[in-house]
């Protein structure tokens, strides 16, 4: 899984800390999400997408066709 969180975050001039605050998670969680190393719950994915004013499909890309 790849994510475009970093791209959208920088587009909105948000730091990892600020995004973490908005979504209500730790900064490490944002780091792991950006690296695609953590599979978030649907709620967290929705909250991140909402904070970055986009939708889940735009943020999370599944390469393996799963």
């Amino acid at each position: 899984m790849r994510t475009r969180i970093k791209e959208f975050r920088t587009r909105h001039n948000l730091t990892q800390e600020k995004l973490a605050q908005i979504v209500g998670v730790r900064r490490e969680t944002i780091i792991f999400l950006e690296q695609g190393k953590y599979n978030p719950s649907l709620r967290l994915a929705y909250n991140v997408a909402k904070a970055l004013k986009t939708n889940i499909e735009e943020l999370f890309i599944f390469d393996d066709g799963a």
Binding site: R26, Q35, K37, Y38
Partner: protein, 200 residues
């Protein structure tokens, strides 16, 4: 509000535990618990000092905490079974049972702390290769421990049956197995710490 209550409960428990441990004169347990708490919760403590609030307990943290509690519990259960077996066949390990149980709790706590740190901070940074190597080293450590116990047992049986000191299992138990165990443990620690302290 919920978090403040939980924090208060943790503080009161810590105070009671400290008083109990001091009254039992188990100072080393107390020092180990304080060191473990600082290791696991240094970010929380830092956040409390700096921002006067605790960092959020999000789903990833919850997931990692439950995994590490499970690991600590499994370790405690296995170690308890081993202890019971040893006591049942009357092997005198340590006359001071309180210290033995204390060491058991401490080891379970250490397993909890290490697996929390692993899941929370090291695992995502290790990558596939690192995880594979860690698994291999841990397996070497585990297998060598099992081989050590089995060899010691077999050495005693064979020596008892033959009447003279049996050399093969003796060498395995005293040299080869401890060497493999040391390699496994040192290797796993190096990879674990590499993952823990590598920058994201």
């Amino acid at each position: 509000m919920k978090k403040k209550r939980a924090f208060l409960a943790v503080c009161i428990t810590a105070l009671v535990l400290t008083i109990v441990l001091i009254s039992l004169r188990a100072y080393y347990v107390l020092v180990a618990i304080i060191a473990g708490t600082l290791l696991i919760g240094y970010r929380e403590l830092w956040s409390l000092i700096r921002l006067r609030k605790l960092p959020p307990v999000d789903e990833r943290v919850m997931e990692n905490t439950s995994k590490s509690i499970r690991n600590g519990f499994i370790f405690f259960a296995i170690a308890s079974v081993f202890l019971m077996l040893l006591f049942s066949i009357n092997i005198n390990l340590n006359p001071d049972t309180i210290h033995l149980i204390g060491a058991l709790f401490l080891s379970a706590g250490a397993i909890y702390a290490l697996s929390y740190l692993f899941y929370d901070r090291a695992e995502p940074k290790l990558g596939e290769r690192g995880l594979r190597m860690l698994k291999t080293f841990l397996m070497v450590a585990g297998i060598s421990l099992a081989v050590f116990i089995l060899s010691a047992f077999l050495h005693n049986i064979v020596s008892g049956l033959v009447g003279t000191e049996e050399p093969v299992f003796f060498i395995i138990a005293t040299i080869l197995a401890p060497l493999a165990f040391a390699v496994g443990i040192i290797g796993s620690l190096v990879i674990f710490l590499k993952g823990l302290f590598s920058r994201v």
